[in-house]
Symmetry: C2
Subunit: 185 residues, 2 copies
DNA sequence: ACCTGAACACCGTTCAAGT
DNA sequence: ACCTGAACACCGTTCAAGT
């Protein structure tokens, strides 16, 4: 018996969440709207409300998925780095290179959301806490004392996200030079 | 003859633009919506369309007003500073102090908008261009050569905005310490 | 268990009509 | 010149009904 081709593959919540995060990245913090998402997934918007209480519910679950994935990522990136300085350079490179990494747009949309959305602010705080701790630990391994390492980690992430917020033509050489100052090379 | 009290003071476009910028600051880049604004201004939304072609038109004129005011501000703040280092410290202080300055929320909303809105991206680019040039000039006056001054200016603004994007509890002492590194004190 | 289809409220936009 | 009021389209939300 032939397996049915192009049968409608009843969705699970994960498909909506994936689509929501993609929409946030592509269109900013106001995106992830029910009807456009339904159109993209080729179902009626009514079906959305089987999987989610409302749009807010979708947002919260997308935020939870984002938070988990970013915390897993920073742990993997810093977990057993043989050379702390090389690990720091690699991390900075990830975000300061053009073209921007795939996840940066989602991250900036979520940070924008965080200014007016408590759940988003909380997810960002969790992720930043883990990242700052991990990066501070790397700086400490390069020889800085605990306080100096924390301040460096703060400078590291402030620069990293601030640089992605700056308008105008991308000044690659100057960004690299500023990154060098952040690493105190 | 008594002057009429509480007569409806027919609005001009400026009133809508003021309200739009306030809404952006208070509710983020998705705010500045026609009907809520009309409610706040106590007119029908139909009257909006006398002053503006559409919501996009309002946004563009609000962006123009923001751009002009920010460029005027940075010129005033750096125009004839007797001590370049003191001027840099004062500028950094403006944005790194808690509570955040009134204009920061508007600025972050516009920067979020800029990722998906060409006119906003252009306004941000104009403002950043002027700010980077002015702050680079201050760094140059402290003794840096032109290239180093530009890189410092980039680090300065990247840190300034990035720091406002970081979540979690505000670490005032560490922000001050990181700011010191930015100024290379 | 998962989805459709119709309903209603909210907001962007248009426009004829008022003052 | 500036505004109202009614109309319509779009999207969030609900819900009875289908499979």
């Amino acid at each position: 018996m032939a397996k049915r081709v192009s049968t409608k593959p009843r969705l699970d919540a994960g498909a909506w969440i994936d689509a929501a995060l993609a929409a946030l990245g592509a269109e900013g913090p106001g995106a992830a709207r029910v009807e456009p998402l339904a159109k993209r997934l080729a179902v009626t918007k009514g079906s959305f409300y089987w999987h989610f209480r409302d749009r807010e519910d979708l947002l919260c679950r997308a935020l939870a998925r984002w938070q988990d994935s970013r915390i897993a990522a920073i742990r993997e990136q810093t977990g057993n780095a043989p050379d702390p300085r090389a690990a720091l350079v690699a991390l900075l490179d990830l975000y300061t290179r053009a073209p921007n990494p795939k996840g940066l747009a989602v991250e900036l949309a979520i940070r924008a959301l965080a200014r007016n959305h408590a759940a988003a602010a909380d997810a960002v705080a969790q992720v930043d806490g883990e990242r700052l701790a991990r990066v501070a630990a790397l700086f400490a391994r390069t020889g800085l004392d605990a306080e100096a390492a924390q301040a460096r980690a703060l400078l590291f992430y402030a620069f990293l996200f601030g640089q992605s917020l700056l308008g105008g033509r991308r000044q690659t050489a100057r960004i690299a030079e500023a990154a060098r100052m952040v690493l105190a090379t």
